[in-house]
Symmetry: C2
Subunit: 142 residues, 2 copies
C-alpha cells in the first residue's frame, strides 16, 4: 500500500537535483535506494523529505561533512544536540551579517554618493567605528 517506488530520474525531476548529485549523496551515505529494478535504483518516496532537508542544510551553508555528521549521528546523542545548538548560534551570526549586508545594499541602491564604495553611510555598515582609518587586532579566522 503505497509501493510507489521512484527511480532516480523521477527523484531528480521532483527535487530539481541532478541524478549525478543523488549518486554523489548516496556515496556520502546520505540516502540509499530501497532496492533496484535491474541496475536501476528504486527510492521510497520519503527520500524526498530527506533530500529536502539535505538541500536546505546545504543552502544554509553546511558542508557535506557537517550534514553527514547530523544525519549519521546516533539518535539521542547528547553531543549531537550540543553541536546543533552551536550551529544555531553560528547561524545567528550569519543572519546578522547578512542583515547588515542587506541594509548596506539597500542604502547603496538609493545613495547618490559618487564613488559609491566611498560613501561614509555605506561604509558604516562594514566598520562599526565611523571614518577612522585605524584597525587593531582583528582576530577573524581565515
Amino acid at each position: 500500500m503505497d509501493g510507489e517506488l521512484l527511480d532516480i530520474g523521477e527523484v531528480a525531476r521532483r527535487t530539481g537535483l541532478a541524478a549525478s548529485a543523488l549518486r554523489y549523496y548516496e556515496k556520502q551515505g546520505f540516502i540509499a535506494p530501497a532496492g533496484r529494478n535491474g541496475l536501476r535504483r528504486s527510492y521510497r518516496p520519503d527520500v524526498l523529505d530527506r533530500l529536502a532537508l539535505i538541500v536546505c542544510a546545504r543552502d544554509a551553508g553546511f558542508t557535506i561533512a557537517e550534514i553527514a555528521g547530523f544525519l549519521r549521528a546516533a539518535p539521542g546523542d547528547p553531543e549531537l544536540r550540543a553541536r546543533l545548538a552551536d550551529k544555531a548560534v553560528r547561524l545567528e551570526d550569519d543572519i546578522a551579517r547578512l542583515e547588515r549586508m542587506r541594509d548596506a545594499l539597500r542604502h547603496a541602491s538609493a545613495c547618490a554618493h559618487e564613488p559609491l564604495v566611498e560613501c561614509p553611510d555605506f561604509k558604516r555598515h562594514f566598520r562599526p567605528d565611523g571614518g577612522g582609518q585605524s584597525a587593531s587586532e582583528r582576530p577573524s579566522r581565515q
Copy 2:
C-alpha cells in the same frame, strides 16, 4: 600628512587576511598598493576599509566576480543600483532560509524524537506541507 604607508604584512595582520589573499585580490583588481618600497607593496591605510567591505561581501556569499562588478562599476551607474537592489532582495531570501534553519536546529537540539531527522516537527521546517510524501514541480535551481 599621514604618510603612514603599510606594507603587506601589516595589512595582513590588521585584516586577518593572508598576504597571498591580498595579492590575489590585487590580481582581481580589488585593491592596489599606493606604491612600492623596493619590490614591496606599500598600502595607504584606507585599503583597510576596502578590505573590510570585500571581506563582508565575501562572507555574505557574494562571489569574487560579483564583488568585482560592484567595485568596478561606474559610479552612479543606474544598472549598478538595480543590481544592488536585486541583491538586497535575494539576501532577504537567504536570510529567511537561514532563519528557518536556525529554528529547525533550535528545535532539534531540544527535541527528543528518536531518529531526529524523522521528527515531524523538525521536518516541518523544511517542507511547508506537513507529512505528505508528495512533492510536485520544484523548480529550484541547481
